[in-house]
Amino acid sequence: MIKYYAFFLGHMQSLLQYREAAISGTFVQVFFGLLRIYLLKAFYASSTLPPPMPFEQAVIYVWLVEATLRLAPFAPDTEIVREIRSGQVAYELIKPMDLYFIWLSRSLASKIAPTLLRFFPVAVISSLFFGFRGPSSGFAFFSWLLTICMAVVLSSVITNLLNISLLWTISGEGISQLMIACSYLLSGQMIPLAIFPDTARDLIRYLPFAGIIDLPNRFYLGELQMEHLLPSILFQLAWILLLWFIGYFILRIGLRKLVVQGG
């Protein structure tokens, strides 16, 4: 356990150095957030049909997305990509479970560190000028925090699947690209999931991606109440466990293939 914690801390430290990138990243995210809000505003203004959520709430949702952008699966870990490409992975004669957890620690750090750096600048700027507001109640805040923590783990597990898929060099690249795009769409980062057609939206909410961004956001906005908390946590937990097991088994297969092929 301690070993993984050390990996985690190490990676956190190296990522927290990127302060300048965080500052410029803040401006970029505020800009993109604004564009999205103005787009939604135009749609809201001209629509004759009832909207899925009040505009002000959509605004808060968009800012939450921008502030927590780095929580979601973004890209495969470049260090791990390098290890795989150079074949170094084959030389690590450790058990698959070990490797899985080492990679998971890296994923966790790569989600938490950038978010810590970027959340507050984005939140502050957007609340001062662009309509971001605090959570609707104490419970909203607490439940949001709780589901966010679960979301980080969920997102890391998915990212780990990305990393693992890269053991198959060619198809892995395509798969990880696709997974990232799907995650971006299905987590609610492109537009709030509520905007999708009702049936589609309900289906999407069964997928793990929704648990990363959409779910915590709904708690924040007060859309989900006390009675939804436990089922939601269990939902996230179930996907975490399922994807963890799948990831682990695929990793075993992948490593075996590497050993057979000679790296």
Binding site: S24, Y38, S46, S47, I191
Partner: protein
């Protein structure tokens, strides 16, 4: 003339060297195609939920969308040299380019034609053609000429932004990511008719980074819609010149940067 020949030969050899990794390129291009395609799904969802975007229909918005993605895909696939400018300087490759009797700017821009970025091209093209047909725009020579003229201008504008960002590398060693804001941000904004945005943003994309001007006016003219800004019809052909102006400006700025680079030593 021979410089143009050199430009295309360099690009051709770049394509050939990428083709060594054929399977990977195909996979990545397909991936890009689907990734950008997903963005269009969002557009569809929005129109399904909200019915209309101010007074724009789906097909009209799709034309803007397809147009900018086609142009950006091409510009993006040809901007790799500028993206890696800091590395070119650090490894000394820029110096080796200076040893060849070919203008430096040409060599940097011909360094690579990134095939996989073309995935976006096909996606945009399909959307644009669908929109064109749905809107019933005649396939006349003048119309085609106009859209190509506008597209070329937008392409040059994207290149200019990328060149300007790369030129900064002649002065600082750290690359400044601001250019990405204008290119990716520009695409994000201008894929919709800019009239839907508040005035401040409209003005930004009309006068400062005129991606909006170069797309809005020609496309509105093609669709036959009433423009928010009343301008004479023929100016539709003049406005795309802004792309050329920016492009020429960026070349001049680049030569300035190069002069600084060669006198300050590497």
């Amino acid at each position: 003339m021979s410089n143009i020949k050199i430009y295309f030969s360099f690009l051709a050899s770049s394509v050939m060297s990428q083709m060594q990794y054929r399977a990977s390129i195909i996979m990545l291009s397909l991936g890009q195609f689907m990734v950008t395609g997903i963005e269009f799904l969002v557009l569809l969802a929005l129109f399904h939920r909200f019915d209309s975007l101010l007074n724009w229909s789906l097909a009209e918005v799709a034309l803007f969308y397809g147009f900018i993605h086609v142009v950006f895909a091409l510009a993006d696939s040809l901007s790799r040299g500028f993206d890696v400018m800091p590395m070119l300087i650090k490894t000394g490759e820029l110096d080796r380019m200076l040893l060849r009797p070919v203008p430096l700017l040409l060599q940097v821009s011909a360094k690579e034609l990134t095939i996989r970025r073309v995935g976006r091209f096909f996606h945009g093209l399909i959307v644009a053609i669908w929109a064109w047909i749905s809107l019933g725009i005649p396939f006349g020579f003048i119309n085609i000429l106009l859209i190509v003229w506008a597209g070329l201008s937008a392409f040059l504008l994207f290149q200019a932004i990328v060149i300007l960002q790369a030129t900064l590398c002649f002065w600082t060693t750290e690359s400044i990511e601001l250019g990405n804001l204008f290119t990716y941000g520009g695409v994000e904004a201008v894929q919709f008719p800019i009239s839907i945005y508040p005035l401040a943003i409209q003005r930004f994309f009309l006068f400062i980074v005129p991606l909006g001007a170069v797309s809005y006016f020609p496309l509105v003219h093609l669709i036959g819609k009433q423009s928010v800004y009343s301008i004479p019809g023929w100016s539709v052909w003049i406005i795309p010149l802004t792309g050329w102006v920016f492009w020429l400006l960026s070349q001049w700025f680049f030569s300035l940067g190069l002069r600084h680079y060669t006198s300050s030593g590497s």
